[in-house]
């Protein structure tokens, strides 16, 4: 009763690749924004450091620990954020992140997929001095 097909669809090659070789992984020295969030359900943590110059995300790193979904999602998000205007970064929403992952995420795992977005939102809006409701 192999379920290989279903698993491979869920754990697609590029997701596993981002999990095993996360992009922009690590810390920045003296970041302009640094924020961390955890998933209380599983204790997973993701943090992001941003260097912002003239409103543009010049450099970004993420750190933390978590499952393949949360780590791949964070890795993909950092790729997208690098070089983006902070104002534009704030417009990134759930659908963008889930679309980028490109897999069906079950309700039980949605928090894993969106943990990095929460870091971005709370972190970026924090710098702007605004409150932002959580997703």
């Amino acid at each position: 009763m192999s379920s290989t097909a279903a698993d491979d669809q869920f754990y697609r090659e590029y997701i596993l690749d981002h999990y095993k070789n996360p992009r922009n992984f690590g810390r920045l020295e003296n970041p302009d924004i640094s924020h961390e969030e955890d998933n209380p359900l599983c204790g997973d943590v993701i943090g992001m450091d941003f260097r912002v110059k003239d409103g543009v995300i010049e450099d970004i790193r993420f750190h933390g620990r978590g499952c393949a979904i949360s780590q791949a999602s964070a890795s993909l998000l950092t790729e997208r954020l690098k070089g983006l205007r902070l104002e534009d970064a704030k417009k990134i929403g759930k659908a963008d992140v889930l679309g980028e992952l490109g897999i069906d995420i079950s309700p039980a795992r949605i928090k894993c997929a969106l943990l990095s977005l929460k870091v971005l939102k709370v972190g970026a809006y924090g710098l702007a001095g605004n409150d932002e409701d959580e997703e």
Binding site: S3, L16, C42, G43, I69
Partner: protein, 404 residues
């Protein structure tokens, strides 16, 4: 005496297995046999009514069935009287009841409360709230390398004359069977009031509260084949008599006058409001089911499955097992696999219809102590068969292939 245990026959009582699932999450909540759901359905369809007040026949029937569970539970745990058997929603409510009604009266500033690092959040948070309110101190008994409580440290803490000692009979996260009888005796000698969290103990090890000697013992029906929403708090009668109600309102009163109220006798003093009647009746059927199997036989079956699973998992490369050897643990195995997060493993197992728990198991202090964010956990019960363990091993190997 250990009866012969026919798992195939037992599984026929659990329609959920017809779906093809391998259910390895009984420490979370157990499955319920037809006998339990049937008893509840019978109440709804034949004598649905409120208890303790109506004068008509079906209400008498409901009251009799509802109260019958109390005697079944009393016998199961060997309490002296049904006055010592309080219905609750579950273990959490039972512990909160004690923290509120006993704790607020007796715990004072500077008092010491002793808990353990392997306790479930339900047996930590109510005491933290109480300690903060009263200015009391909490100390946690640590574990050794095998995941067993450090008895030397426990004895040292007892020298400080704690007001309360609370710990689990069995760890939900590691499966460790604590030497509860010895610990209770030592704590009582030190003058402490003792609460034992029996959420994982009552369903799997069974309990004789008088032999155990504790003051309070709380457990849940839904982890022992019963429905959610019905649990038990056992308390020694003189303690319960001296305690004020936890919740107040209907059914827990004797007389209410505008000048004041007198409370009902035990056990009803602690049972305010309309109760979970169907659930309590269901719990009674669950107790009947377990009693018919015999707790010795339940323990023996779980031991066999646990040894089998421990062996099978030990053979897997890159797999770390947490906690004591099978001879000293209940039917719970926590583990992690190198390079695979427990959530990913649980998702892959789910594709094979294998129900596996992944997370911190409501024991975050223990996870911190172990230096992990989460573990995967397989847990067993009366209906677990070796084939389900084999399917778990298959899912783990599949996960290792995907993540290789």
């Amino acid at each position: 005496m250990i009866k012969t245990f026919d798992v195939a026959a037992i599984r026929k009582d659990f329609p959920i297995f017809e779906t093809g699932i391998a259910y390895l999450d009984s420490a979370n909540t157990s499955q319920r046999p037809r006998q339990v759901t049937g008893a509840m359905l019978e109440y709804f369809e034949k004598f649905n009514s409120n208890i303790h007040r109506a004068a008509y026949r079906i209400a008498e029937e409901a009251t009799v069935r509802y109260e019958a569970t109390r005697e079944k539970v009393r016998e199961l745990i060997n309490a002296s009287s049904t006055k010592e058997v309080i219905y609750t929603r579950g273990t959490t409510e039972g512990i909160n009841l004690v923290a509120y009604s006993w704790g607020r009266k007796h715990v004072k500033q500077g008092d010491l409360i002793v808990l353990t690092i392997i306790d479930h959040h339900s047996n930590i948070v109510p005491w933290q709230i109480l300690a903060a309110e009263k200015g009391a101190t909490i100390e946690y008994v640590d574990i050794d390398e095998r995941g067993e409580l450090r008895q030397d440290q426990f004895r040292k803490l007892l020298e400080r004359s704690p007001k309360l000692v609370a710990f689990g009979q069995v760890s939900n996260a590691l499966g460790t069977i604590n030497p509860a009888t010895e610990m209770v005796a030592a704590a009582k000698t030190a003058g402490a009031t003792v609460l034992v969290d029996g959420a994982q103990g009552a369903p799997h090890q069974g309990v004789d509260v008088r032999a155990l000697g504790c003051d309070f013992y709380a457990f849940s029906g839904h982890k022992m084949l019963g429905p959610t929403g019905a649990g038990i708090l056992y308390g020694r009668r003189e303690l319960l008599e001296a305690m004020d109600p936890f919740m107040s309102g209907g059914d827990m009163i004797k007389t209410v006058r505008v000048e004041g109220t007198t409370y009902h006798d035990l056990p009803w003093k602690f049972e305010a409001g309309t109760q979970a009647i169907a659930e309590v009746i269901g719990l009674g059927a669950a107790v009947d089911y377990l009693t018919a199997l015999g707790m010795d036989a339940v323990r023996a079956h779980e031991r066999e499955i646990t040894e089998y699973a421990f062996e099978a998992l030990s053979d897997i490369e890159g797999l770390t097992l947490y906690g004591p050897p099978p001879s000293r643990r209940a039917g719970v195995i926590s583990f992690s696999i190198e390079g695979i997060h427990p959530h990913d493993l649980a998702t892959i197992a789910d594709r094979d219809q294998v129900c596996l728990r992944a997370g911190h198991h409501c024991a975050m202090p223990l996870m911190t102590r172990l230096g992990v964010a989460a573990t995967a956990r397989a847990s067993f019960y009366v209906y677990t068969q070796k084939d389900e363990v084999d399917r778990l091993v298959g899912s783990i190997k599949e996960a290792q292939r995907i993540f290789a």
